[in-house]
Protein backbone atom coordinates (compact mmCIF):
# COMPACT_ATOMS: atom_id res chain seq x y z
CA UNK A 1 0.00 0.00 0.00
CA UNK A 2 2.56 2.51 1.15
CA UNK A 3 4.97 1.47 -1.57
CA UNK A 4 2.22 2.00 -4.16
CA UNK A 5 1.68 5.49 -2.74
CA UNK A 6 5.42 6.16 -2.87
CA UNK A 7 5.63 5.00 -6.48
CA UNK A 8 2.67 7.21 -7.40
CA UNK A 9 4.21 10.19 -5.61
CA UNK A 10 7.61 9.65 -7.22
CA UNK A 11 6.05 9.44 -10.67
CA UNK A 12 4.03 12.59 -10.07
CA UNK A 13 7.05 14.50 -8.70
CA UNK A 14 9.18 13.54 -11.69
CA UNK A 15 6.40 14.39 -14.15
CA UNK A 16 5.91 17.83 -12.63
CA UNK A 17 9.66 18.45 -12.55
CA UNK A 18 9.64 17.99 -16.33
CA UNK A 19 6.89 20.63 -16.65
CA UNK A 20 8.23 23.15 -14.16
CA UNK A 21 11.63 24.11 -12.85
CA UNK A 22 13.41 23.92 -9.52
CA UNK A 23 15.99 26.70 -9.60
CA UNK A 24 18.31 26.85 -6.64
CA UNK A 25 20.66 29.84 -6.54
CA UNK A 26 23.95 30.05 -4.67
CA UNK A 27 23.32 30.19 -0.94
CA UNK A 28 19.94 28.50 -1.27
CA UNK A 29 18.51 25.07 -0.58
CA UNK A 30 15.80 23.19 -2.46
CA UNK A 31 12.69 22.89 -0.25
CA UNK A 32 9.53 22.17 -2.27
CA UNK A 33 9.48 20.58 -5.72
CA UNK A 34 7.07 21.56 -8.51
CA UNK A 35 4.50 18.90 -7.67
CA UNK A 36 4.27 20.03 -4.03
CA UNK A 37 3.98 23.69 -5.04
CA UNK A 38 1.32 22.90 -7.64
CA UNK A 39 -0.75 20.96 -5.10
CA UNK A 40 -0.31 23.69 -2.49
CA UNK A 41 -1.69 26.39 -4.76
CA UNK A 42 -4.54 24.25 -6.06
CA UNK A 43 -5.51 23.52 -2.44
CA UNK A 44 -5.25 27.26 -1.68
CA UNK A 45 -7.38 28.19 -4.71
CA UNK A 46 -10.15 25.75 -3.87
CA UNK A 47 -9.91 26.58 -0.17
CA UNK A 48 -10.60 30.25 -0.79
CA UNK A 49 -13.29 29.57 -3.40
CA UNK A 50 -15.03 27.27 -0.92
CA UNK A 51 -14.41 29.72 1.94
CA UNK A 52 -15.84 32.76 0.18
CA UNK A 53 -18.81 30.89 -1.27
CA UNK A 54 -19.34 29.30 2.15
CA UNK A 55 -19.39 32.66 3.95
CA UNK A 56 -22.61 33.52 2.15
CA UNK A 57 -24.22 30.32 3.42
CA UNK A 58 -22.75 30.53 6.94
CA UNK A 59 -23.96 34.03 7.81
CA UNK A 60 -25.68 35.70 4.84
CA UNK A 61 -26.84 38.67 6.88
CA UNK A 62 -23.17 39.49 7.51
CA UNK A 63 -21.39 38.08 4.46
CA UNK A 64 -23.91 38.33 1.64
CA UNK A 65 -21.57 40.73 -0.17
CA UNK A 66 -19.35 37.74 -1.00
CA UNK A 67 -22.03 36.01 -3.05
CA UNK A 68 -22.04 38.30 -6.14
CA UNK A 69 -18.50 37.01 -6.86
CA UNK A 70 -20.09 33.68 -7.67
CA UNK A 71 -23.17 35.04 -9.42
CA UNK A 72 -25.52 35.37 -6.46
CA UNK A 73 -26.60 33.34 -3.45
CA UNK A 74 -28.13 30.32 -5.19
CA UNK A 75 -25.16 29.92 -7.54
CA UNK A 76 -22.68 30.33 -4.67
CA UNK A 77 -24.59 27.59 -2.85
CA UNK A 78 -24.62 25.37 -5.94
CA UNK A 79 -20.88 25.82 -6.63
CA UNK A 80 -19.73 25.50 -3.00
CA UNK A 81 -19.83 21.65 -2.91
CA UNK A 82 -17.77 21.46 -6.12
CA UNK A 83 -15.16 23.84 -4.70
CA UNK A 84 -15.09 21.71 -1.57
CA UNK A 85 -14.63 18.56 -3.62
CA UNK A 86 -11.68 20.19 -5.41
CA UNK A 87 -10.17 21.11 -2.05
CA UNK A 88 -10.53 17.60 -0.67
CA UNK A 89 -9.08 15.95 -3.80
CA UNK A 90 -6.02 18.20 -4.03
CA UNK A 91 -5.42 18.16 -0.31
CA UNK A 92 -5.76 14.38 -0.38
CA UNK A 93 -2.95 14.21 -2.95
CA UNK A 94 -0.88 16.62 -0.86
CA UNK A 95 -1.47 14.45 2.20
CA UNK A 96 -0.11 11.43 0.33
CA UNK A 97 2.82 13.53 -0.88
CA UNK A 98 3.63 14.73 2.64
CA UNK A 99 2.78 11.72 4.73
CA UNK A 100 6.45 10.90 5.42
CA UNK A 101 7.78 14.34 6.49
CA UNK A 102 4.57 15.00 8.44
CA UNK A 103 4.93 11.93 10.66
CA UNK A 104 4.80 12.96 14.31
CA UNK A 105 7.98 12.54 16.37
CA UNK A 106 8.92 13.15 20.03
CA UNK A 107 10.70 16.32 18.87
CA UNK A 108 7.32 17.68 17.73
CA UNK A 109 5.79 17.01 21.13
CA UNK A 110 8.65 18.96 22.72
CA UNK A 111 8.14 21.71 20.14
CA UNK A 112 4.43 21.97 21.01
CA UNK A 113 5.23 22.12 24.76
CA UNK A 114 7.54 25.03 24.02
CA UNK A 115 4.89 26.80 21.91
CA UNK A 116 4.21 29.67 24.33
CA UNK A 117 7.90 30.64 24.36
CA UNK A 118 8.00 30.60 20.58
CA UNK A 119 4.85 32.70 20.23
CA UNK A 120 5.87 35.24 22.88
CA UNK A 121 9.26 35.65 21.21
CA UNK A 122 11.23 34.63 24.31
CA UNK A 123 12.86 31.83 22.37
CA UNK A 124 14.43 33.24 19.21
CA UNK A 125 16.13 30.01 18.17
CA UNK A 126 14.34 26.95 16.90
CA UNK A 127 15.25 23.85 18.92
CA UNK A 128 18.12 22.05 17.21
CA UNK A 129 15.94 18.97 16.59
CA UNK A 130 13.37 20.82 14.43
CA UNK A 131 13.27 18.95 11.15
CA UNK A 132 11.77 19.61 7.72
CA UNK A 133 8.46 20.54 9.36
CA UNK A 134 8.10 21.74 12.92
CA UNK A 135 5.47 20.57 15.40
CA UNK A 136 3.14 23.46 14.66
CA UNK A 137 3.17 22.79 10.93
CA UNK A 138 2.49 19.12 11.52
CA UNK A 139 -0.33 19.94 13.93
CA UNK A 140 -1.96 22.17 11.34
CA UNK A 141 -1.45 19.54 8.64
CA UNK A 142 -3.16 16.83 10.70
CA UNK A 143 -5.91 19.25 11.69
CA UNK A 144 -6.63 19.81 7.99
CA UNK A 145 -6.54 16.05 7.33
CA UNK A 146 -9.12 15.51 10.07
CA UNK A 147 -11.08 18.57 9.03
CA UNK A 148 -11.18 17.43 5.42
CA UNK A 149 -12.60 14.07 6.41
CA UNK A 150 -15.29 15.90 8.41
CA UNK A 151 -15.89 18.23 5.47
CA UNK A 152 -16.24 15.35 3.05
CA UNK A 153 -18.63 13.24 5.13
CA UNK A 154 -20.82 16.10 6.37
CA UNK A 155 -20.57 17.89 3.03
CA UNK A 156 -21.99 14.91 1.16
CA UNK A 157 -24.83 14.72 3.69
CA UNK A 158 -25.58 18.43 3.29
CA UNK A 159 -25.24 18.19 -0.49
CA UNK A 160 -27.68 15.32 -0.85
CA UNK A 161 -29.93 16.93 1.74
CA UNK A 162 -32.50 16.03 4.35
CA UNK A 163 -34.61 14.08 1.88
CA UNK A 164 -31.80 11.54 1.37
CA UNK A 165 -30.13 11.34 4.78
CA UNK A 166 -32.90 12.59 7.07
CA UNK A 167 -33.45 15.79 9.01
CA UNK A 168 -31.22 14.96 11.98
CA UNK A 169 -28.24 13.92 9.89
CA UNK A 170 -28.36 17.32 8.18
CA UNK A 171 -28.90 19.22 11.43
CA UNK A 172 -25.83 17.56 13.02
CA UNK A 173 -23.67 17.70 9.88
CA UNK A 174 -24.31 21.40 9.64
CA UNK A 175 -22.71 21.96 13.06
CA UNK A 176 -19.69 19.75 12.39
CA UNK A 177 -19.17 21.35 8.97
CA UNK A 178 -19.25 24.81 10.58
CA UNK A 179 -16.84 23.86 13.40
CA UNK A 180 -14.38 22.44 10.89
CA UNK A 181 -14.65 25.62 8.80
CA UNK A 182 -14.15 27.94 11.77
CA UNK A 183 -11.05 26.05 12.96
CA UNK A 184 -9.56 26.16 9.47
CA UNK A 185 -10.43 29.84 9.10
CA UNK A 186 -8.57 30.62 12.32
CA UNK A 187 -5.67 28.46 11.12
CA UNK A 188 -5.39 30.15 7.74
CA UNK A 189 -4.62 33.53 9.35
CA UNK A 190 -1.74 31.98 11.29
CA UNK A 191 -0.56 30.08 8.21
CA UNK A 192 -0.52 33.18 5.97
CA UNK A 193 1.05 35.36 8.66
CA UNK A 194 3.92 32.99 9.41
CA UNK A 195 4.60 32.25 5.75
CA UNK A 196 4.82 35.91 4.76
CA UNK A 197 5.55 38.75 7.18
CA UNK A 198 5.84 36.66 10.34
CA UNK A 199 8.89 34.74 9.17
CA UNK A 200 10.30 36.60 6.17
CA UNK A 201 11.90 34.46 3.49
CA UNK A 202 9.33 31.66 3.83
CA UNK A 203 7.07 32.62 0.96
CA UNK A 204 9.57 31.81 -1.77
CA UNK A 205 9.59 28.18 -0.61
CA UNK A 206 6.17 27.87 -2.24
CA UNK A 207 6.95 30.15 -5.21
CA UNK A 208 10.35 29.05 -6.53
CA UNK A 209 10.67 26.16 -4.15
CA UNK A 210 14.01 27.29 -2.70
CA UNK A 211 14.94 28.97 0.59
CA UNK A 212 18.08 30.74 1.75
CA UNK A 213 20.52 28.78 3.87
CA UNK A 214 20.11 31.36 6.62
CA UNK A 215 16.36 30.73 6.62
CA UNK A 216 16.90 26.99 6.66
CA UNK A 217 19.20 26.88 9.68
CA UNK A 218 17.15 29.46 11.58
CA UNK A 219 13.81 27.72 11.28
CA UNK A 220 14.64 24.08 10.52
CA UNK A 221 18.10 23.33 12.00
CA UNK A 222 17.80 19.54 11.93
CA UNK A 223 16.75 19.59 8.28
CA UNK A 224 19.63 21.97 7.51
CA UNK A 225 22.06 19.65 9.23
CA UNK A 226 20.67 16.69 7.32
CA UNK A 227 21.01 18.43 3.95
CA UNK A 228 24.31 20.27 4.40
CA UNK A 229 26.06 18.22 7.06
CA UNK A 230 26.78 21.38 9.06
CA UNK A 231 25.37 22.20 12.50
CA UNK A 232 25.25 25.98 12.97
CA UNK A 233 23.47 25.70 16.33
CA UNK A 234 26.33 23.67 17.73
CA UNK A 235 28.79 26.00 16.03
CA UNK A 236 27.04 28.96 17.62
CA UNK A 237 27.27 27.40 21.09
CA UNK A 238 30.90 26.53 20.49
CA UNK A 239 31.64 30.07 19.35
CA UNK A 240 29.97 31.46 22.47
CA UNK A 241 31.95 29.14 24.69
CA UNK A 242 35.19 30.27 23.15
CA UNK A 243 34.19 33.89 23.42
CA UNK A 244 33.94 34.62 19.70
CA UNK A 245 30.29 35.74 20.15
CA UNK A 246 29.19 37.85 23.11
CA UNK A 247 26.52 36.29 25.31
CA UNK A 248 23.16 37.96 24.82
Amino acid sequence: MSSAVERFDDKARDAFDRIGQNEVYVGELQRHRVYTRFLHWMVALFFFLALFSGFGIYLPWLFRWFTPIFGGGPLARALHPWFGLGFVIFFGLQALNWIAPMTWTPADTRWMRNLSNTVSGKEKMEPSDTGFFNGGQKAQFWEIVGGSVVYLITGIILWAGARTFGRWAVAVSYILHDISAVIMLGGIFIHIYLSTIGEPGTFRAMIRGAVSEAWAWTFHPAWYKEVTGRDPVEACEEARKRGFIARP
Binding site: G56, P60, G73, K124, I197, E199, W215, T218, F244
Partner: protein
Protein backbone atom coordinates in the same frame (compact mmCIF):
# COMPACT_ATOMS: atom_id res chain seq x y z
CA UNK B 1 -59.18 40.79 8.57
CA UNK B 2 -60.45 42.68 5.61
CA UNK B 3 -57.55 45.10 5.44
CA UNK B 4 -53.91 44.84 4.46
CA UNK B 5 -52.72 44.95 8.09
CA UNK B 6 -53.05 41.18 8.21
CA UNK B 7 -49.71 40.92 6.40
CA UNK B 8 -47.59 42.65 9.04
CA UNK B 9 -44.20 40.93 9.35
CA UNK B 10 -43.49 39.26 12.71
CA UNK B 11 -40.25 37.30 12.12
CA UNK B 12 -37.60 37.27 9.40
CA UNK B 13 -35.19 34.39 8.77
CA UNK B 14 -31.47 35.05 9.24
CA UNK B 15 -32.27 38.50 10.54
CA UNK B 16 -30.90 39.55 13.91
CA UNK B 17 -32.73 42.85 14.30
CA UNK B 18 -36.38 43.57 15.00
CA UNK B 19 -38.96 43.51 12.23
CA UNK B 20 -40.07 46.95 11.16
CA UNK B 21 -43.45 47.87 12.62
CA UNK B 22 -43.84 44.68 14.65
CA UNK B 23 -46.31 44.89 17.52
CA UNK B 24 -47.62 48.26 16.41
CA UNK B 25 -51.17 47.05 16.03
CA UNK B 26 -53.41 44.18 17.03
CA UNK B 27 -53.72 41.44 14.46
CA UNK B 28 -55.87 38.36 14.63
CA UNK B 29 -54.06 35.11 13.91
CA UNK B 30 -55.58 33.27 10.99
CA UNK B 31 -56.16 29.55 10.89
CA UNK B 32 -57.22 26.88 8.45
CA UNK B 33 -59.38 24.13 9.90
CA UNK B 34 -59.33 20.74 8.18
CA UNK B 35 -61.99 18.33 9.39
CA UNK B 36 -60.65 14.98 8.15
CA UNK B 37 -63.88 13.30 9.22
CA UNK B 38 -65.90 14.93 6.45
CA UNK B 39 -63.24 15.04 3.74
CA UNK B 40 -64.44 13.02 0.73
CA UNK B 41 -61.13 13.10 -1.11
CA UNK B 42 -62.50 14.99 -4.11
CA UNK B 43 -59.23 16.88 -4.66
CA UNK B 44 -61.02 20.13 -5.47
CA UNK B 45 -58.56 21.86 -3.13
CA UNK B 46 -55.62 20.43 -5.11
CA UNK B 47 -57.03 21.89 -8.32
CA UNK B 48 -57.91 25.24 -6.74
CA UNK B 49 -54.36 25.53 -5.36
CA UNK B 50 -52.78 24.85 -8.73
CA UNK B 51 -55.22 27.24 -10.42
CA UNK B 52 -54.84 30.19 -8.06
CA UNK B 53 -51.07 29.94 -7.76
CA UNK B 54 -50.76 29.67 -11.54
CA UNK B 55 -48.84 26.42 -11.43
CA UNK B 56 -48.72 24.11 -14.46
CA UNK B 57 -50.44 20.76 -14.82
CA UNK B 58 -48.47 18.31 -12.71
CA UNK B 59 -48.15 14.75 -14.02
CA UNK B 60 -49.79 12.31 -11.65
CA UNK B 61 -48.42 8.94 -10.63
CA UNK B 62 -50.70 5.96 -10.18
CA UNK B 63 -49.87 3.73 -7.21
CA UNK B 64 -53.14 1.78 -6.94
CA UNK B 65 -54.64 4.33 -4.58
CA UNK B 66 -56.57 7.53 -5.06
CA UNK B 67 -53.51 9.57 -4.16
CA UNK B 68 -52.45 11.91 -6.94
CA UNK B 69 -48.71 11.59 -6.28
CA UNK B 70 -46.51 10.31 -3.43
CA UNK B 71 -45.79 13.74 -1.94
CA UNK B 72 -46.11 17.45 -2.58
CA UNK B 73 -43.86 19.04 -5.18
CA UNK B 74 -42.25 22.44 -5.57
CA UNK B 75 -45.15 23.38 -7.84
CA UNK B 76 -47.82 21.21 -6.22
CA UNK B 77 -48.40 22.40 -2.67
CA UNK B 78 -51.63 20.74 -1.70
CA UNK B 79 -52.04 16.96 -1.73
CA UNK B 80 -54.68 14.70 -0.25
CA UNK B 81 -53.10 11.69 1.40
CA UNK B 82 -55.20 8.54 1.35
CA UNK B 83 -54.47 5.98 4.03
CA UNK B 84 -56.14 2.72 4.91
CA UNK B 85 -56.16 1.74 8.55
CA UNK B 86 -57.30 -1.68 9.69
CA UNK B 87 -59.12 -1.57 12.99
CA UNK B 88 -58.75 -4.32 15.59
CA UNK B 89 -62.09 -5.84 14.56
CA UNK B 90 -60.81 -6.21 11.00
CA UNK B 91 -62.82 -3.39 9.45
CA UNK B 92 -61.08 -0.78 7.32
CA UNK B 93 -60.99 2.91 8.05
CA UNK B 94 -60.22 5.08 5.01
CA UNK B 95 -58.40 8.16 6.21
CA UNK B 96 -57.99 11.20 4.02
CA UNK B 97 -55.84 14.12 5.00
CA UNK B 98 -55.12 17.28 3.06
CA UNK B 99 -51.35 17.69 3.31
CA UNK B 100 -49.82 21.16 3.00
CA UNK B 101 -47.71 23.62 4.97
CA UNK B 102 -48.86 23.77 8.60
CA UNK B 103 -47.74 27.38 9.15
CA UNK B 104 -46.22 26.57 12.56
CA UNK B 105 -46.15 29.22 15.27
CA UNK B 106 -42.48 28.28 15.78
CA UNK B 107 -41.47 27.46 12.20
CA UNK B 108 -38.55 25.03 11.84
CA UNK B 109 -37.93 26.24 8.29
CA UNK B 110 -37.51 29.82 9.46
CA UNK B 111 -35.25 28.69 12.33
CA UNK B 112 -33.03 26.73 9.95
CA UNK B 113 -32.88 29.33 7.17
CA UNK B 114 -29.62 31.31 7.16
CA UNK B 115 -30.64 33.79 4.44
CA UNK B 116 -31.82 37.22 5.49
CA UNK B 117 -35.46 37.62 4.58
CA UNK B 118 -35.90 34.38 2.64
CA UNK B 119 -38.61 33.21 5.06
CA UNK B 120 -40.93 35.58 6.90
CA UNK B 121 -43.66 35.00 9.42
CA UNK B 122 -46.50 37.48 9.38
CA UNK B 123 -48.23 38.54 12.57
CA UNK B 124 -51.32 36.70 11.36
CA UNK B 125 -49.31 33.46 11.53
CA UNK B 126 -48.66 32.84 7.84
CA UNK B 127 -45.13 31.60 7.11
CA UNK B 128 -44.11 32.68 3.64
CA UNK B 129 -41.03 32.06 1.47
CA UNK B 130 -39.57 35.08 -0.31
CA UNK B 131 -37.84 33.39 -3.22
CA UNK B 132 -35.86 36.48 -4.25
CA UNK B 133 -33.83 36.14 -1.02
CA UNK B 134 -33.59 32.34 -1.06
CA UNK B 135 -30.10 30.91 -1.67
CA UNK B 136 -31.29 27.34 -2.15
CA UNK B 137 -29.29 25.80 0.71
CA UNK B 138 -32.24 23.53 1.60
CA UNK B 139 -31.67 23.81 5.36
CA UNK B 140 -35.40 24.58 5.66
CA UNK B 141 -36.10 21.05 4.41
CA UNK B 142 -34.30 19.61 7.43
CA UNK B 143 -35.92 22.16 9.75
CA UNK B 144 -39.46 21.21 8.72
CA UNK B 145 -41.15 18.41 10.70
CA UNK B 146 -43.69 17.89 7.90
CA UNK B 147 -41.35 17.59 4.87
CA UNK B 148 -43.06 20.49 3.13
CA UNK B 149 -40.44 22.77 1.49
CA UNK B 150 -39.51 21.46 -1.96
CA UNK B 151 -36.47 22.41 -4.01
CA UNK B 152 -36.72 23.42 -7.65
CA UNK B 153 -33.43 22.45 -9.33
CA UNK B 154 -34.08 24.83 -12.24
CA UNK B 155 -34.37 28.02 -10.18
CA UNK B 156 -32.30 26.59 -7.25
CA UNK B 157 -34.89 27.91 -4.81
CA UNK B 158 -37.40 26.36 -2.43
CA UNK B 159 -41.19 26.65 -2.62
CA UNK B 160 -44.21 25.76 -0.52
CA UNK B 161 -47.81 26.63 0.32
CA UNK B 162 -48.27 30.32 1.15
CA UNK B 163 -51.68 29.89 2.80
CA UNK B 164 -52.63 32.18 -0.11
CA UNK B 165 -51.05 35.15 1.68
CA UNK B 166 -51.92 37.20 -1.39
CA UNK B 167 -55.61 36.36 -1.01
CA UNK B 168 -55.62 36.65 2.78
CA UNK B 169 -53.89 40.02 2.56
CA UNK B 170 -56.74 41.11 0.32
CA UNK B 171 -59.37 39.90 2.74
CA UNK B 172 -60.19 36.63 0.95
CA UNK B 173 -60.01 33.05 2.16
CA UNK B 174 -57.33 30.71 0.69
CA UNK B 175 -58.19 29.11 -2.65
CA UNK B 176 -58.49 25.59 -1.21
CA UNK B 177 -61.11 26.78 1.30
CA UNK B 178 -63.11 28.40 -1.47
CA UNK B 179 -63.18 25.18 -3.49
CA UNK B 180 -64.10 22.72 -0.73
CA UNK B 181 -67.63 21.36 -1.38
CA UNK B 182 -68.25 19.59 1.94
CA UNK B 183 -67.32 22.26 4.48
CA UNK B 184 -64.39 20.12 5.55
CA UNK B 185 -62.18 23.20 5.12
CA UNK B 186 -62.87 26.32 7.14
CA UNK B 187 -60.91 29.54 7.53
CA UNK B 188 -61.02 32.22 10.22
CA UNK B 189 -59.19 33.43 13.28
CA UNK B 190 -57.21 30.91 15.29
CA UNK B 191 -59.50 31.35 18.29
CA UNK B 192 -62.65 30.77 16.26
CA UNK B 193 -61.24 27.76 14.41
CA UNK B 194 -59.99 26.18 17.65
CA UNK B 195 -63.45 26.62 19.12
CA UNK B 196 -65.17 25.09 16.09
CA UNK B 197 -62.64 22.25 16.01
CA UNK B 198 -63.05 21.44 19.69
CA UNK B 199 -66.85 21.48 19.36
CA UNK B 200 -66.64 19.14 16.37
CA UNK B 201 -64.27 16.80 18.23
CA UNK B 202 -66.64 16.78 21.19
CA UNK B 203 -69.53 15.96 18.85
CA UNK B 204 -67.51 13.08 17.34
CA UNK B 205 -66.68 11.73 20.79
CA UNK B 206 -70.19 12.00 22.20
CA UNK B 207 -72.45 11.27 19.25
CA UNK B 208 -70.45 9.22 16.75
CA UNK B 209 -68.45 6.86 18.92
CA UNK B 210 -65.01 8.15 18.02
CA UNK B 211 -63.68 7.99 21.58
CA UNK B 212 -60.25 9.39 20.70
CA UNK B 213 -61.42 12.13 18.37
CA UNK B 214 -59.52 15.35 18.90
CA UNK B 215 -57.83 18.38 17.48
CA UNK B 216 -54.29 18.32 16.04
CA UNK B 217 -52.57 21.54 17.07
CA UNK B 218 -49.15 20.35 18.34
CA UNK B 219 -47.87 22.48 21.21
CA UNK B 220 -44.29 21.23 20.79
CA UNK B 221 -43.94 23.83 18.04
CA UNK B 222 -46.23 26.38 19.64
CA UNK B 223 -49.27 25.22 17.73
CA UNK B 224 -49.95 25.49 14.02
CA UNK B 225 -52.04 27.79 11.88
CA UNK B 226 -53.51 24.77 10.14
CA UNK B 227 -55.37 22.51 12.56
CA UNK B 228 -56.92 19.09 11.94
CA UNK B 229 -59.91 17.39 13.47
CA UNK B 230 -58.92 13.71 13.59
CA UNK B 231 -60.99 10.60 14.32
CA UNK B 232 -58.09 9.38 16.42
CA UNK B 233 -55.97 12.20 17.76
CA UNK B 234 -53.85 9.67 19.72
CA UNK B 235 -52.39 8.26 16.51
CA UNK B 236 -51.88 11.08 14.02
CA UNK B 237 -49.18 8.97 12.30
CA UNK B 238 -51.96 6.95 10.68
CA UNK B 239 -52.87 9.95 8.55
CA UNK B 240 -49.84 9.68 6.28
CA UNK B 241 -47.08 10.32 8.77
CA UNK B 242 -48.39 13.28 10.75
CA UNK B 243 -45.91 13.53 13.68
CA UNK B 244 -47.46 13.43 17.14
CA UNK B 245 -44.81 15.66 18.70
CA UNK B 246 -43.08 17.52 15.87
CA UNK B 247 -39.68 18.92 16.86
CA UNK B 248 -37.15 21.33 15.43
CA UNK B 249 -33.54 20.06 15.70
CA UNK B 250 -31.90 21.86 18.62
CA UNK B 251 -28.99 22.78 16.41
CA UNK B 252 -31.18 25.30 14.64
CA UNK B 253 -32.16 27.11 17.81
CA UNK B 254 -29.03 26.92 19.98
CA UNK B 255 -26.34 26.67 17.36
CA UNK B 256 -27.52 29.22 14.90
CA UNK B 257 -28.20 32.14 17.18
CA UNK B 258 -25.47 31.64 19.76
CA UNK B 259 -22.48 29.65 18.57
CA UNK B 260 -22.42 30.73 14.94
CA UNK B 261 -21.82 34.44 15.50
CA UNK B 262 -19.59 33.73 18.50
CA UNK B 263 -17.41 31.28 16.58
CA UNK B 264 -17.36 33.54 13.52
CA UNK B 265 -16.03 36.33 15.71
CA UNK B 266 -13.59 33.92 17.32
CA UNK B 267 -12.14 33.07 13.91
CA UNK B 268 -11.73 36.76 13.11
CA UNK B 269 -9.71 37.07 16.34
CA UNK B 270 -7.14 34.97 14.45
CA UNK B 271 -6.69 37.94 12.11
CA UNK B 272 -6.52 40.43 14.97
CA UNK B 273 -4.18 38.10 16.86
CA UNK B 274 -1.56 37.80 14.14
CA UNK B 275 -1.61 41.56 13.51
CA UNK B 276 -1.11 42.24 17.22
CA UNK B 277 1.66 39.65 17.28
CA UNK B 278 3.36 41.43 14.39
CA UNK B 279 3.36 44.84 16.07
CA UNK B 280 4.15 43.64 19.61
CA UNK B 281 6.38 40.56 19.41
CA UNK B 282 7.41 41.13 15.81
CA UNK B 283 8.59 38.77 13.09
CA UNK B 284 11.34 36.20 13.43
CA UNK B 285 14.05 37.00 10.94
CA UNK B 286 16.42 34.44 9.42
CA UNK B 287 19.81 34.86 11.01
CA UNK B 288 23.08 34.61 9.12
CA UNK B 289 24.74 31.32 9.78
CA UNK B 290 27.44 31.73 12.47
CA UNK B 291 30.87 30.88 11.18
CA UNK B 292 33.14 29.23 13.66
CA UNK B 293 36.62 30.53 12.89
CA UNK B 294 39.54 28.58 14.34
CA UNK B 295 42.85 30.34 13.94
CA UNK B 296 41.77 32.00 10.73
CA UNK B 297 40.61 28.82 9.01
CA UNK B 298 36.98 28.04 8.18
CA UNK B 299 36.67 24.56 9.65
CA UNK B 300 32.92 24.22 9.51
CA UNK B 301 32.67 24.59 5.76
CA UNK B 302 34.18 21.34 4.64
Amino acid sequence: MSDRKTLQVRQISGHSGPSAGFDMQRDPEVCKLIDTTICIGCKACEVACVEWNDMPFSPTTFDNTYQTMPETRWNFWNLIKFNEHQREDGTIQWLMRKDQCMHCADPGCLRACPADGAIVQYTNGIVDFQQENCIGCEFCVSGCPYDIPKFNPATKKVYKCTLCSDRVGGGLEPACIKACPTGCLKFGTKDDMKYVAEERAKQLRENFGFKDAGVYDPQSIGGTHVVYVLHDAQNPERYGGLPKNPVIPWSYTVWKWLFKPVLGTFALFGLVGVLLHYVTVGPRLPQPEPQLKKEGSDVQRS
